[in-house]
């Protein structure tokens, strides 16, 4: 067979296997190596909720997709060019994601009768059964080759078998002409206390690389030139890390030490884990006994003068609802991060959705409006978290930051910003008040923010609480006072619209269809609209980061298009919200509630259907 080197702009690789096969690590290492090589990347980990589901079954399959390119990459890709399937179950559940021109690498050792049956195939020939005979199928005896490679390593047999993901990774490095030095460095660092493991992992990686070069089964290798980036220092970042860092950045800019009370919950946990690492930046984290304690310790910390945050996902947000009302009525700064996942109830916890929007907007007792901000890409989580903190502290109110499992776990290259590029944060902390006694709920005229008098300050002793009160802080159930305070608190949130940027349009400012999105669908909507624009269609995109309040020019943006198509990963929550905010427009909808991101084609089809 003639070996070809294909120079390509974009390649999608999907690593799949049992939950214990190390596919998340393999995918992450491959993605990082590609990013460090200079490609643009976007990743999508897709894994089951079970840590180790029954081996060899479809329910235990874990996947990691990465899109690498020399140009702009905004999504992890719809269908893959290369699928790695470590067992028959992985092939069975992922074959549908392969392009007809794709290469599929299979571990032949797992394709015995037992494995094939366990995966639920009806025949002994999975390839024919799945109708994927036209793909370039490579059966490689990965398990036995790994055993052979490490037979003299001194590792126990279990450890040896666990190293087969490194063999696979080596094969992929060959196929995509990736340099291996970054991964060697990773291995050296990770196993620095165990030289035998360092040698073994490096050897099996190299053997995999050599094997792929030696066999003639691989018809072509790919080169993907580095993407054309702006000059600067870059790093790879996932959404949850970016959220954590954005919060730390807001803490530094405000001079208020960060406090995070939280409780582990998929897929938000890694924000707490990341913050827990950064005590050097004066961040305090408290892993609480439950979600309610997570927010309540944070409210206490906010009262005492910290920049307080709490991180969670949908079910946790439900538990925090009552305390959110407390933060709102005591008018304390607090950022609540909801990394959305599939619901209701426990739902599909490791899968992505945008189904908490209603809960974020309305999920509290009484009149309790809370500002809502959404992140639109993994790296944008940094800015979204930073500004959530800025607005919470400067406007003295809780701010809800919505991200998604897709963003939290997904990663992309990020040009490292300098903190000097970010604005100051000036919380209204006071040392003295003109009035005696101090009025805790006296407001400034522009923002309607109250002042932040911290316990420990002489002469500003005061009480706050969940009961309705007058501006001087005295408890009051007077009907007129209550109505006025409700109105003042609502107006404070509404006035945030004076401080957020105008809504922008990607494409022409008028046309046939305006695609409207919010949050983590940005990459897919952007790619779809670019495609449609390239075909000459009059389609533009406007994507919302600021959900409540909406940017002031929202109606102006909408008014110049014949049709508006709201695309979101729920049954129409943002569309319905827009119907309450801007009733003069008609909103078409494109919805998906499968626990999966959009694929670009779905958006393109939905636009074409109304064009």
């Amino acid at each position: 067979m003639q070996h070809k080197v294909i120079d390509t702009k974009e390649v999608v690789v999907r690593f799949t296997g049992d939950s214990g096969d190390g596919m998340q690590l393999t995918g992450t290492l491959f993605a990082d190596a590609s990013a460090l090589f200079g490609n643009d990347i976007s990743t999508f980990p897709d894994f089951p909720a079970e840590i180790r589901a029954p081996q060899g079954t479809v329910s235990g399959v874990s996947g990691f997709q990465v899109n690498i390119g020399s140009g702009e990459i905004k999504t992890p890709g719809d269908y893959c060019d290369v699928l790695v399937a470590m067992n028959p179950a992985a092939l069975r559940s992922n074959a549908k994601w392969t392009k007809s021109s794709s290469t599929i690498i299979l571990d032949s050792d797992t394709f015995d009768e037992k494995g094939i049956t366990k995966a639920g195939f009806k025949t002994s020939d999975p390839i024919t059964e799945l109708k994927i005979e036209d793909r370039n199928i490579i059966f490689a005896a990965i398990t036995s080759l790994t055993k052979e490679s490490l037979k003299d390593s001194g590792l126990d047999p279990k450890m040896i078998v666990r190293s087969k993901n490194m063999f696979t990774l080596g094969m992929c490095y060959y196929m995509f002409n990736r340099p291996m030095n970054f991964t060697f460095e990773y291995i050296e660092k990770k196993f620095k206390k165990n030289p035998a493991l360092v040698d073994a992992n490096k050897k099996v990686l190299q053997d995999g690389y050599n094997y792929a070069g030696n066999i003639h089964a691989i018809p072509n290798t790919y080169t993907i030139q580095p993407a054309k980036y702006e000059k600067g220092l870059y790093r790879n970042i996932n959404g949850n890390q970016a959220t954590a860092w954005g919060l730390l950045a807001a803490s530094e800019k405000s001079g208020r030490p960060l406090f995070c009370g939280s409780y582990p919950i998929t897929p938000a946990t890694s924000i707490l884990e990341e913050l827990a690492k950064h005590k050097e930046l004066n961040a305090k984290t408290l892993q609480c006994e439950d979600e309610i304690a997570g927010i309540c310790t944070s409210i206490g910390a906010a009262y005492a003068g910290s920049f307080a945050v709490t991180t969670t996902s949908g079910p946790g947000l439900s538990l925090k609802s009552e305390a959110l009302g407390l933060a709102m009525i005591t008018e304390l700064p607090l950022v609540i991060v909801d990394v959305q996942r599939g619901g209701p109830s426990t739902g599909i916890p490791t899968k992505t959705e945008q189904t908490d929007l209603n809960q974020a907007l309305y999920g509290r007792n009484g009149e309790c409006p809370i500002a809502v901000i959404a992140a639109h890409s993994p790296s944008h989580c940094f800015d979204a978290a930073f500004y959530s903190g800025k607005f919470a502290m400067e406007h003295m109110m809780p701010v809800m930051l919505l991200t998604e499992g897709f963003l939290g776990n997904g990663s992309e290259p990020w040009k490292i910003p300098s903190m000097s590029d970010y604005p100051e944060i000036n919380p209204p902390v006071i040392e003295k008040a003109e009035e005696t006694p101090y009025w805790p709920f006296k407001r400034d005229e522009e923002r309607l923010a109250r002042r932040w008098a911290l316990p420990g300050t002489v002469g500003l002793e005061h009480r706050v609480g969940g009961l309705e009160k007058n501006n001087d802080g005295t408890v009051s159930s007077d009907p007129i006072v209550h109505e006025r305070m409700v109105a003042e608190r609502a107006e404070k949130v509404a006035r945030l619209a004076n401080y957020i940027p105008d809504q922008t349009i990607m494409g022409e400012e008028s046309g046939d269809v305006l695609v409207v999105g919010w949050g983590g669908t940005y990459g897919h909507l952007y790619t779809a609209v670019k495609e449609l624009q390239a075909e000459g269609k009059k389609v533009s995109l406007t994507h919302f980061d600021y959900i409540f309040p909406l940017p002031k020019n929202t109606a102006d943006v909408f008014s110049n298009f014949k049709k508006i198509l709201v695309c979101e990963l729920n049954s129409g929550q943002f569309a319905n919200y827009l119907r309450t905010q801007h009733q003069q427009f008609q909103y078409h909808q494109c919805n998906k509630v499968q626990g999966q991101p959009f694929i670009v084609k779905e958006i393109v089809d939905a636009v074409n259907a109304i064009l």
């Binding site: 990082d32 990013a35 460090l36 200079g38 970054f182 702006e230 000059k231 600067g232 220092l233 870059y234 790093r235 790879n236 860092w245 730390l248 950045a249 530094e252 030490p257 406090f259 950064h278 005590k279 050097e280 930046l281 004066n282 305090k284 408290l286 006994e289 309610i292 304690a293 309540c296 310790t297 944070s298 409210i299 206490g300 910390a301 906010a302 009262y303 005492a304 003068g305 910290s306 307080a308 305390a323 009302g325 005591t330 490292i416 300098s418 903190m419 006694p437 911290l454 316990p455 420990g456 300050t457 002489v458 500003l460 002793e461 009480r463 706050v464 609480g465 969940g466 009961l467 408890v475």
Partner: protein, 338 residues
């Protein structure tokens, strides 16, 4: 600075029912404040009173200090956040039997387990007062209330046992009517490093009147309670003629001068003993078999959560090469595009 109790009285009208035991506790706490400031060199602005929901939880409004009236059951969590955020503050939590032991049970036991340096005053009236008379987790088995018209069918908590079970380092008990004792305990509580829980048996004049009558009436209070003091023999009674001894693995009430018992045979209270065995027996003593134990029953030393947080922070900060956000942004794997 010299303070008087008056300095700790806010301008708010106290709205508890006339005759409610809460008034007495408020007075005891306000009286203890100048003494605490004197003993520990505190100033008034460092005090934060945190509460949940219930009659007792109105307490912060009546103190001329910083205060936070939270939501039902969550005071321990709010107080924890205040203390961890600013360990120089002296944090006091006021709570009731429903607030701390029913809806807030989880936060209560975890605050005690962490040994965070807060002072918890638990007003135990064995009833839900603010919702007008339903049984609580400390109501006696069989008690008739609005939600148990035929008597409760559940066993009550003993708050002190719960504190010990959560590896508590400080537990004290008082009666609302024992103003001076409560005041003294508050001072001990303030001096204790770690979570200090004081249970005050309090009367609800409207919904559970005289629930502690067996203990509080002057006629027999001295014979039915024992005020424990560290280092002193466990002697009680109007005539100071009764005491506690160990009989096998149980406590036993004896009369001094009878059956050859002398004062030397009486147990000496050791609140600082780490082993909770004897403290547990003292906490469990019930009338009529035993006198009910009052005073500081347990006060042992252990590291506190807030100190541990501070020490870890200091250590990490001194060792880390990352000093600013810009350092962090550039740390780890990065690449330069030229």
């Amino acid at each position: 600075m010299k303070y008087t109790p008056q300095d700790f009285k806010s301008n708010q009208e106290v709205k508890w029912c006339p005759g409610c035991g809460d008034h007495a506790i408020l007075a005891s706490v306000q009286r203890s404040m100048p003494e605490i400031c004197e003993a520990l060199n505190y100033t008034k602005e460092r005090f934060v009173f945190v509460s949940g929901i219930g009659c007792s939880s109105r307490f912060p409004y009546y103190m001329e200090t910083y205060g936070f009236h939270g939501i039902h059951g969550r005071a321990s969590a709010i107080a924890t956040g205040v203390k961890v955020a600013n360990p120089t503050l002296t944090v006091w939590q006021v709570t009731g039997d429903g607030d701390a032991l029913a809806i807030g049970g989880n936060h209560f036991i975890h605050a005690v387990r962490r040994n965070i340096d807060i002072n918890i005053i638990l007003f135990n009236n064995q009833i839900y007062g603010l919702t007008k008379g339903q049984y609580s987790p400390t109501s006696k088995l069989g008690m008739v209330t609005k939600t148990s018209p035929y008597g409760t069918v559940e066993h009550p908590f003993n708050p002190g046992a719960l504190v010990l079970g959560s590896r508590g380092t400080f537990f004290a008990r008082s009666l609302d009517v024992e103003l001076k004792l409560t005041q003294d305990i508050m001072v001990e509580s303030a001096k204790h490093d770690g979570t200090a829980v004081t249970e005050v048996l309090v009367n609800c004049v409207i919904f559970n009147d005289k629930t502690h009558f067996n203990l509080v009436d002057r006629e027999f209070r001295a014979d039915r309670t024992i005020v424990l003091k560290h280092g002193e023999p466990m002697i009680f009674g109007k005539e100071r003629d009764k005491g506690l001894v160990l009989d096998g693995i149980k406590l036993k009430v004896v009369k001094i001068g009878e059956n050859g018992i002398t004062e030397k045979d009486i147990l000496v209270h050791d609140a600082k003993e780490e082993n909770p065995g004897l403290h547990s027996m003292l906490i469990d003593m019930k009338f009529p078999e035993y006198p009910v134990a009052l005073g500081v029953i347990r006060a042992v030393k252990d590291s506190t959560y807030d100190d541990n947080v501070r020490d870890q922070l200091t250590e990490v900060r001194s060792k880390s090469t990352i000093k600013t956000m810009d350092d962090l942004l550039k740390s780890g794997a990065t690449w330069e595009v030229k």
